[in-house]
């Protein structure tokens, strides 16, 4: 029989709160009571994140019954081992108290309660380098049922009915994308996984690839079957060496187990997968630029139409899906489109993973149903603002996104409502800023990023972002003039309307949205400049 596991978080916050001593103590006690045959201590940590509720550290979870012990002290470990592990009684007085109630189950603590993990279902739980652990959790069963029971059109119908939309930023319905490529003429078609997660502050794709690579492989095989592609590529950015490594190990294991290669599950369908590593260019997250990069060219975008679904990689019909989008495919097949579409809001179905970072108590990945409010994410799940300072703004969607001020804390986060307030859900980067941050400086930070990453192909983006950055720097140096703000707005709107690709079309957003909500910060700087001169 497999050993029961005790999970101890070894994230930096927990380590500094004494997790190492807690672990040692557990090991001593278990040895002393001869429980080493039954129990195993597992420390949980990866570069992408720890268990999550940092403010409750050090923590231990008895995996068997999901009991959660927070704020652990070494002197209490003995009681947990004796009373809980040996006698099977939960140690009531060591449980975490929230809102006057003792919480037993890890899933019930405030950090987890509002989360719903679909895309992150296996991340941090299974060993990504062991295909058996993925298979044990129903891995490759969706593929089997698709190949045995469904036609490609039925698969597409199921994905359409689920309401799943692209999680990379644009939110295009996935099933419709697949159906375009399915209908497109051509013997040779391709499926590409876009793992060029370039938005600073977003790291869910990295976490999924590192922690659950088989879920992406299985989804890509299903997508290949649906559109009629026998070759797939995963385009991973070069900044993610561990993701590349784990993915390659997983592909080899899938090949050895017959999930990749010829005649999968005894069917006529064959599929092969290759990893392509980016080389440090943000614009390659744009699908036409990504295609150029796989073809071995400079990653410059091209005009659409033609769309990749008709003419993509090497001119062939191609579907490009983001990592998180693909991570939802297997659960949709296994649990049905009705189940999936029952989660979320009217137009945004399912969940979204957010990478919460910045000035909050618990930083890390958070997966919530679409429609969860910003307030719930920041204050219930992320534990509120660090050092109990005041909340100022949330930057959502990275360099293509915008800033959401205090007034909109109760905004339900989904594609439409975030767009209404001048930002985008984007890839799900969510950087929380306290009252000490200068919004003009934050806007400059993003613009500096896009200006540097502009590929230079079209003039509005290449020259326009440079001019905007010049003005912003002038204002920050105390040389701003009143008319500069109008100029920024006019320039920003022109760049949005006339740029070739998504990079340029969204580059002005961080400036425009801070101008909208924090105009007084710009004005103060300009006023100071005028007084000096």
């Amino acid at each position: 029989m497999a050993k029961k596991e005790i999970l101890i978080c070894a994230g930096t916050a927990c380590l500094s709160a004494g997790a190492e001593e807690i672990k040692d103590r557990f090991e001593e006690e278990i040895k002393e009571l001869n429980l080493t045959e039954d129990y195993e201590i597992k420390t949980v940590i990866s570069n992408t994140g720890c268990i999550g509720p940092c403010s409750l550290g050090p923590i231990a979870i008895i995996k068997d019954d999901s009991t959660f012990y927070g704020h652990l002290k070494t002197e209490n470990v003995e009681r947990i081992v004796r009373e809980h592990l040996l006698e099977g009684k939960i140690v009531e007085d060591l449980l975490t108290e929230e809102d006057g109630e003792k919480i037993e189950d890890f899933k019930e603590i405030r950090f987890m309660k509002k989360q719903k993990r679909i895309a992150l279902r296996n991340t941090g739980i299974i060993d990504p380098n062991k295909i058996e652990e993925y298979i044990e959790r129903d891995g490759y069963q969706a593929l089997k049922s698709v190949l045995n029971n469904l036609t490609p059109l039925e698969v597409i119908e199921e994905i359409k009915n689920s309401g799943l939309r692209g999680r990379g930023g644009a939110g295009f319905p996935t099933g419709i994308k697949w159906s375009f490529a399915h209908q497109a003429e051509g013997e040779q078609k391709y499926i590409i996984c876009n793992a060029d997660e370039g938005d600073p502050g977003a790291f869910m794709d990295r976490s999924i690839l590192e922690g659950d690579p088989h879920s992406i492989i299985e989804a890509m095989i299903i997508a290949g079957y649906a559109i009629g592609a026998e070759q797939g590529y995963v385009y991973v950015r070069a900044e993610y060496p561990l993701a590349v490594k784990n993915l390659k190990i997983a592909i080899r294991a899938a090949e050895n187990n017959g999930y990749l290669g010829s005649n999968i599950y005894g069917s006529d369908f064959s599929f092969n997968l290759e990893v392509r590593v980016g080389a440090g260019a943000f614009v390659c997250g744009e699908e036409t630029a990504l295609i150029a990069s796989i073809e071995g060219k400079r990653g410059q975008p091209s005009t659409k139409p033609p769309y990749p679904a008709n003419s993509g990689l090497w001119g062939k019909p191609t579907v490009i899906n983001n990592v998180e989008t693909l991570a939802n495919i297997v659960p949709i097949i296994n649990q049905g489109s009705d189940w999936f579409s029952s989660i979320g809001t009217e137009k945004s179905k399912g969940t979204k993973v957010f990478a919460v970072a910045g000035d909050v108590k618990n930083t890390g990945l958070v997966e919530v149903p679409m429609g969860t409010t910003l307030r719930e994410i920041i204050f219930d799940i992320a534990g509120g603002i660090a050092e109990d300072k005041g909340f100022k703004a949330a930057q959502i969607g990275g360099p293509s996104g915008g800033t959401i001020p205090k007034e909109y804390l109760d905004l339900q986060i989904d594609y439409e409502s975030v767009k209404k307030v001048g930002a985008i859900v984007g890839s799900g980067g969510l950087v929380i800023m306290d009252e000490d941050n200068s919004m003009v400086d934050v806007a400059r930070f993003f613009l500096e990023f896009t200006e540097d990453e502009s590929c230079g192909k079209c003039t509005p983006c290449r020259v326009g972002t440079k001019r905007m950055l010049d003005i912003l720097e002038k204002i920050l140096e105390g040389k701003g003039r009143r008319q500069d703000l109008d100029k920024l707005e006019k320039l920003g709107n022109t760049i949005k309307e006339t740029s070739l690709c998504g990079l340029g079309q969204t580059a002005p957003n961080p400036v425009l949205s801070t101008l909208k909500y924090f105009r007084e910060e710009y004005e103060t700087l300009i006023k100071q400049a005028e007084e000096v001169n």
Binding site: P200, A202, V277, A279, E295, R298, A357, G358, M433, V442
Partner: protein, 152 residues
Amino acid sequence: MTVIKLSALDHIFEKYEKKKGNLIPVLHDIQEEIGYLPVEVQRYASKKLGVAMSKIYGVISFYSFFTTEPKGEHTIGVCMGTACYVKGAEDILNRLKEELEIETGQTTADNKFTMTVTRCLGTCSMAPVIMIDEQVHGNLTAAKIPEIINKY
């Protein structure tokens, strides 16, 4: 400067011979092996792959990961992603500049470290971070820098 034995790179060209769009993977492997992509290597790749020199140089200069200059024994990447920036990445960068007595993009006199600024490394929950070779060091303060450097 050491002389590069070009024929020693042939195994890389063979590995990708039949792959479509093999230029970028080939350049990646060469850079991993010898550290950089000098002109003579570009010329050799042009001949081996049948791709114009101008195209190869165009690709190398487009992507920030490719370099035509030799690098030090270890490469330090200071993350300048949003979370790191908000949490003081600039202090970390300045301290590194002071300790190593180099600017961004330069290599130390003893050839030990090359310092670069990188895009978001996706380890935002440990911000601010630096990556030395493939190892991420997180939750940094400027004061922790000397200790980390001394480990290498």
